[in-house]
């Protein structure tokens, strides 16, 4: 078996004057689930579009399933499945017809199609809706059908571009379940997301992208440990209280926002830390307006690696 399923070396891409990818280096091993985590406009979709042969890079080396993008894009197309940001299924056809059509376009034999379509429909829990037009499907069902369509040819590598965006929490869990099943079959999965939780649930490895560069590449556990388990955010009534609190509060991963009179920090010991901080505030006579405890988010990862909020830009 080859060492890497996907190899990206010094990949660059600009749209007109705007440099979207500024030299991306990334490798994915066969059977690995890599999550590309980043805000809107970080270059996630651009990378997926390049890897799936939809977009030509300006420079850099890209090898997918052993095929060089420059000379063997047709071979790459035989080895990948893409589920893009939009649910690319035909509204007027039924779920069954959609999968059948995709199977035929992947040049599967009729017997293969006959065997795989019902199997996929069952796996994605779409048996009941199989013969209804897709326009009657819910968002979650469409997403599932979309995923199934990308898998009909059993490609060794699957690209998923924000597979759970615009889904309700229940459908999101269902999609996660199906992605986990893929993983157990040894398929290489390259997925993008804006949510740390998603990366955490699904990925073996998380690459964080910001401003067209990979700024971190590690296991979800290690990334989360770096970012801190939970964060406490305090908002003060007045700017004087805010200024005084800044002197008193000590902690790791401390960030403040002067405009909002707010301070946030990582808490290691949960309630004990909160109690301690509140006691100190009371002693100093500082009024805390609101207090929230929250799980680390993508923003915190960015704060950690860049010291500032995630850059938003054009995707």
């Amino acid at each position: 078996m080859r060492e890497y399923a996907i190899e990206i070396e010094n990949l660059k891409k600009s749209f007109k004057q705007l440099a979207v990818l500024k030299g991306v280096n990334l490798t994915v091993k066969p059977g690995e689930v890599l999550t590309l985590l980043g805000p809107n406009g970080a270059g996630k979709t651009t990378i997926i579009r390049i890897l799936s042969t939809l977009l030509k890079p300006d420079s850099g080396k890209v090898v997918v399933n052993g095929y060089n993008l420059k000379t063997q894009s047709q071979e790459i197309r035989q080895s990948i499945g893409l589920t893009g940001q939009y649910t690319a299924v035909d509204e007027y056809l039924t779920g069954f017809e959609n999968l059948e059509m995709m199977g035929r376009l992947y040049h599967l034999s009729r017997s293969e199609i006959k065997q795989r379509v019902p199997k996929l429909l069952e796996q994605f829990d779409l048996i009941e809706a199989a013969h209804r037009p897709v326009k009657t499907y819910s968002g979650g069902m469409r997403r599932k059908l979309d995923l199934a369509a990308g898998l009909i040819a059993s490609p060794p590598i699957v690209f998923l571009d924000e597979p759970t965006s615009s889904l309700d929490p229940r459908s999101r869990l269902a999609v996660w379940e199906t992605i986990k099943k893929l993983v157990s079959k040894g398929i290489t999965v390259f997925l993008t997301t804006q949510h740390l939780e998603e990366a955490d649930t699904l990925a073996d490895r998380v690459a964080v992208i910001n401003g067209g560069r990979i700024i971190a590449d590690d296991t979800p556990e290690r990334l989360k440990n770096l970012v801190g388990k939970e964060r406490l955010e305090l908002v003060f009534k007045t700017s004087e209280d805010f200024a005084r609190a800044l002197i008193i509060i000590k902690g790791s991963e401390l960030y403040h926002d002067q405009k909002a009179n707010s301070v946030s920090l990582a808490v290691e010991r949960g309630v004990i830390d909160i109690q301690e901080i509140l006691n100190r505030m009371e002693k100093a006579g500082i009024q805390v307006e609101t207090l929230t405890l929250r799980k680390p988010t993508l923003d915190d990862v960015f704060m950690h690696f860049t010291g500032r909020k995630a850059e938003e830009g054009e995707d």
């Binding site: 030509k56 197309r77 992947y106």
Partner: protein, 263 residues
């Protein structure tokens, strides 16, 4: 991977076009909007010109309905082909084109599927228009050969406008812009022509345009054929126009298709 033989490639291409053609066919009867647009619009136009405006329009010879039929047929085909623009724009917006482009298929098979769908749609529509015309007084004088030539002309014209429509669909930025781009192109072509009225009363500039643009030649050719008359130079002009449009449109459409998203 070994490079596939030419024969294998040809088989796959035929398969891809067939699959995408079947998809377009299914859209004809599964999409009720398309079905209604296909039938109601030309029937409304026919009734409008036959009964509302037709009485006030003087034609040189024969009845107005006999004059009108060729115009309605060609207008139906022209506007009917905009379905291709709309379907392609929709496929682009929904990401279906993106997905199809990541498949191991020839890119223009996708457009061939839509254009072939247009052929079937327009044939259906033409049959409906002719039946409707017969009900409101149309008396064709064409013999079998002339009908065959009419069918061939309608097919060629469909291919020509469908490829143009594919270009419009690929060039449009949004679904909304498809309808006005289509309108902007098809409206002058069909109305500034001899489709509904003789060109004689038009102002000089408009008349020059109307008498030399493709739709007029096609309409005049079909009109003469339905009336059992010689279509003289119009038929040849019509054929040359259609073939020229097809030859130019296909590579343009293929270029735009490949370019899409690959900026």
């Amino acid at each position: 991977m070994k490079s596939q033989s030419l024969y294998q490639k040809a088989c796959w291409l035929a398969n891809d076009i067939q699959v995408l053609f079947i998809r377009s066919l299914k859209h004809i009867y599964k999409n009720y909007d398309q079905l209604l647009g296909l039938t109601i619009q030309p029937i409304m136009f026919m009734l409008l010109f036959r009964y509302v405006l037709g009485g006030a329009i003087l034609v040189e010879e024969g009845t107005y309905i006999n004059f009108l039929m060729a115009g309605i047929l060609v207008q139906g085909v022209a506007f009917g082909s905009l379905t291709t623009s709309y379907s392609i724009a929709m496929d682009l917006q929904r990401g279906i084109i993106d997905r199809l482009k990541t498949l191991p298929i020839a890119s223009w098979a996708v457009m061939m599927g839509h254009v072939a769908g247009d052929l079937v749609r327009n044939t259906l529509q033409a049959v409906i228009i002719i039946i409707m015309g017969l009900l409101v007084g149309f008396h064709p004088q064409a013999n079998l050969t002339e009908w065959l030539i009419i069918t061939l002309l309608v097919f060629l014209f469909t291919l020509a406008v469908s490829w143009m429509a594919a270009i419009m669909g690929l060039a449009a930025k949004t679904l909304e812009s498809v309808s006005w781009i289509g309108f902007l192109v098809m409206f002058p072509l069909t109305f500034a022509s001899a489709a509904f009225v003789p060109t004689k009363t038009m102002p000089a500039v408009l008349r020059t345009f109307a008498e030399n643009q493709p739709v007029t030649h096609i309409v005049e050719a079909i009109r003469a054929l339905t009336m059992g008359k010689s279509s003289d130079h119009h038929l040849w002009f019509a054929l040359v126009w259609c073939v020229a449009i097809i030859i130019i449109s296909i590579p343009v459409a293929a270029y735009l298709f490949r370019r899409h998203g690959g900026k």
